[in-house]
Assembly symmetry: C2
Homo-oligomer: 298 residues x 2
């Protein structure tokens, strides 16, 4: 499909890309750059790919360049690679927030570079190259966004690339992407981090009991609160406006529940708690969640 692909940033996502591109023979050559020496060593020791010490060199001659490092690293990476990018290269990423990144890239006025962003809705609570696996993108959605390239040949090529990894591809504008993901992803992460912080601060003399009885609800929230801190810091800073707005909405809804509890308003609580079952059924019906009790955990 490609002669040369470069992956910049080789953690959970980047190394999963590497594994599946290699497995499916989607590129004659794979170049990798990661600023961490440990990650570079791990990749060298486990895969037959070219690992570069210089990010500018790593993109030279590549037909597809994928940035899968934290959002805050993009600017420096682009400064380094802009003069070594091949003519007509597809430049993409795997970041979870798009609008600000798109502005940054547009400001570079990159000539003859096809910038089309990707967001694979795939991941786990683990990070680092040892956590990656080739099946990560299988049957998952991947959202592509671009300013005006929706129907270009390059757009279709990138779409086919993700489909070859097993993903289902959708197009969204940068703005719509950031709004929808602030609801489906950024809001739940902010809340999960807050709840675990609350618990940690209240651990006091019952620490052992809190861990023992975590199966009564708490453990569900610890999963996404265990996600990569740098990645999430950058997402919150990047998509701050949408996230603050949706967190304000959330706080209003929480106040409504608090008020109903304080006034022991049975009817109100009933109506609140009855309204929320439906969404899970719809998510299960859409094939986005298991229908097994307790996520099918043993």
């Amino acid at each position: 499909m490609f002669d040369k692909i470069t992956i910049i940033g080789c953690g959970l996502i980047g190394s999963s890309l590497l594994r599946i591109i290699d497995k499916k023979n989607l590129s004659k050559q794979i170049n990798v750059f990661d600023k961490s020496k440990e990650v570079s060593e791990f990749i060298k020791n486990n895969f037959k790919v070219k690992v570069f010490n210089d990010v500018a060199d790593s993109v030279s001659g590549s037909d597809l360049v994928i940035i899968s490092s934290p959002l805050s690293s993009y600017k420096e990476i682009l400064l380094s690679i802009k003069s070594t990018l091949k003519k007509d290269v597809i430049l993409t990423d795997t970041g979870s927030a798009k609008k600000e990144i798109n502005k940054i890239i547009n400001n570079f006025n990159l000539d003859q570079v096809h910038w089309i962003s990707s967001h694979p809705i795939a991941g786990t609570e683990f990070s680092g190259p040892e956590s990656g696996f080739a099946e990560l993108f299988k049957d998952r959605w991947c959202i592509l966004s671009s300013e005006n390239q929706k129907k270009t040949q390059k757009f279709n090529l990138l779409k086919k690339f993700w489909e070859a990894l097993g993903s289902k591809v959708k197009f969204m504008s940068f703005d719509d992407h950031d709004y929808v993901l602030s609801i489906t992803s950024h809001l739940p992460h902010a809340i999960a981090y807050s709840i675990i912080r609350t618990v940690i601060k209240n651990e006091d003399k019952f620490k052992e009991e809190i861990i023992q009885y975590s199966a009564s609800g708490l453990r569900d929230f610890t999963r996404i609160a265990a996600s990569d801190p740098t990645m999430w810091r950058d997402i919150f800073i990047d998509n701050d406006e949408n996230i603050i707005k949706i967190l304000d909405n959330f706080s209003e809804n929480l106040e409504e529940i608090k008020k109903a509890i304080k006034s022991k308003n049975k009817d109100k609580l009933n109506s609140i708690f009855s309204s929320t079952r439906k969404l899970r059924k719809e998510i299960i019906k859409a094939g986005q969640e298991t229908d097994k009790p307790n996520f099918g955990r043993k």
Copy 2:
């Protein structure tokens, strides 16, 4: 172990008790009462037990009476059964809040009744007798609480009963129970209900996308927000003081995160997001959670 056990309320928990008591032959006879005709029919059609139309009759001659109906039903049940309870009966329940219930039962001044409350930390997001299964209590904690019966013969008998179901038993005071569970269970449920409410209200024109991309975090929260509404309404009203206090703490922590996002305070966000990984590791180490990525979901 017992000559006769009565189960009052035969939903997810009650019917799971019925299944395992039957399977392990822990009682010569099992009596069941449920105020719902549908539930009673289901039990009659699927199990060889005595199903009663009158709750007072159902407890007559029983050595162990287990209330596994919503907390708000206890008072009426106790009014009905207090004169038909056998001398030296063990009266227990499976409710998720204890302090108020204990007050109610104490106010009845039941003579020669051994009231020892149980809370099996076990359940799923499903409800009703068709959702029950015999293994529900296996390897789960069960918390026993009583005023002064910790070392009595009846206490030990009830402990052995839960152990025979496969559970690990701990003793806690009513107050401590309600405090710890407000953190491990009631807080996460209140938050999950609030988050799903927020999402439902924001569904607007992106409803399809929100469901499609729910795997990016949201789906985790829909599980416990799909729990039984009546049961949860009663828990929030019963344990209101602890819950309001911990929700206030939560709101403070959320405001701290919001402030850090608004001021784009990288260091603060880093420190918040780095502090929360540890708790999950401890929960996994304690055998209360799977170590597989994404809860091992397919």
